[in-house]
């Protein structure tokens, strides 16, 4: 039986799709059969970040509405054998996803996979609520910035009141993932620190992803950033997923990088 994880944030542009791609790829790399679903109906982008945009034939809405089978719509990742992508529709309106239809698709996937990662659209409207409704765990992607932290708090409130588990009197397991973190600016007092964000949101920290050039490079190329194992962001995502799977890994990239001798001499 698969575990359903939603990647959500409230605010847009904080790194939900980047995280969904990296998280699902890392789960697959570690041997877990994983499917990642794009819930952003009308504005699909996960396919692009995963590098499978030219192989989309059928989409999530087609499956929900019975116009295509799961087998037809699932796209197998070209790098990892046990990773699949279910793309969003680009043409349908955002209310095309009905809870009963979504539930049926998730139930069918559950039998086949170890993890189902749901990439939520921004906002707190229908699409975002559909993405989180069936989730058992949630990765709350947050930037160390006031509007993102506030919106994350709102989405945590929604997880605690409007998810199916909440309706059954249980709770969704929450994980904080702080992205675009810049230790230099934190040290200068220009950016909220990990501790500040943890104090406000009061949910357990899963990982901190440093602001990194590798993220844009990865999405340019359509390769989830965990494949770039030399990069700081790639390593940070790998750590976060290992931690998610129960491994004890210390948090890295929280301190200002000390410049080495060569860098000090030649700059960099």
């Amino acid at each position: 039986m698969a575990k359903i994880i939603v990647v959500t944030s409230g605010k847009g542009g904080v790194g939900k799709t980047t995280t969904s791609a990296a998280f699902s790829a890392a789960l697959a790399m570690k041997g877990h059969k994983t499917v990642v679903i794009d819930f952003d109906v009308g504005l699909r982008n996960l396919d692009l970040v995963m590098g499978c945009e030219r192989r989309v034939v059928y989409d999530f809405v087609n499956v929900v509405q019975g116009e295509a089978s799961l087998k037809q719509a699932l796209i197998k990742d070209k790098r990892l054998d046990n990773l699949f992508v279910l793309p969003a529709s680009q043409t349908r309106d955002k209310d095309a996803l009905k809870p009963e239809g979504v539930e049926k698709v998730l139930n069918d996937l559950r039998a086949e996979f170890d993890y189902i990662v749901c990439d939520s659209p921004a906002g707190i409207e229908h699409g975002a609520q559909m993405a989180l409704y069936f989730a058992e765990e949630a990765v709350i992607v947050t930037n160390p910035e006031v509007s993102s932290v506030r919106d994350s708090d709102r989405i945590i409130g929604i997880l605690q009141s409007k998810s199916r588990l909440a309706e059954e009197g249980k709770s969704v397991k929450e994980h904080l993932l702080l992205t675009r973190y810049n230790p230099e600016r934190v040290e200068r007092g220009e950016m909220l620190s990990v501790q500040d964000v943890e104090d406000i949101l009061a949910i357990p920290l899963l990982g901190v992803i440093p602001e990194s050039e590798a993220v844009l490079k990865a999405s340019n190329q359509g390769v989830p950033v965990v494949h770039d194992d030399a990069s700081d962001a790639g390593q940070a995502y790998d750590d976060a997923v290992s931690r998610y799977l129960g491994e004890d890994r210390p948090h890295r990239f929280l301190e200002k990088q000390k410049k080495g001798f060569l860098k000090r001499v030649f700059g960099g």
């Binding site: 006031v146 506030r150 200068r188 620190s193 104090d199």
Partner: protein
């Protein structure tokens, strides 16, 4: 810190300003979004009643509902203008 900065008045870092603002805002948001639906409307009506007698701004009235064990406490805070 530079020598000039040393003599300048101690200024709060923007990150600590952000944290303080967020702590207040998030607490406020939580009450508003988790509170009963009638709270905003009641706040408006209370405001209208008070306005019959005193001139006050929207920000001068603060209505909050707090859960203390099994009882709910409705707190009404009105800042009256200086005479």
């Amino acid at each position: 810190m530079s020598l000039l900065g040393y003599f300048r008045k101690e200024e709060k870092s923007s990150a600590s300003v952000a944290k303080e603002r967020l702590q207040i805002l998030v607490a406020h948001d939580r009450v508003r979004t988790n509170g009963p639906d009638y709270l905003p409307k009641m706040q408006q009506e209370l405001l209208a009643v008070i306005r019959k007698y005193v001139v006050i701004d929207d920000e001068d009235v603060n209505v909050s509902l707090e859960q203390q064990g099994t009882t709910s406490v409705l707190e009404l805070n009105v800042t009256l203008p200086d005479r």
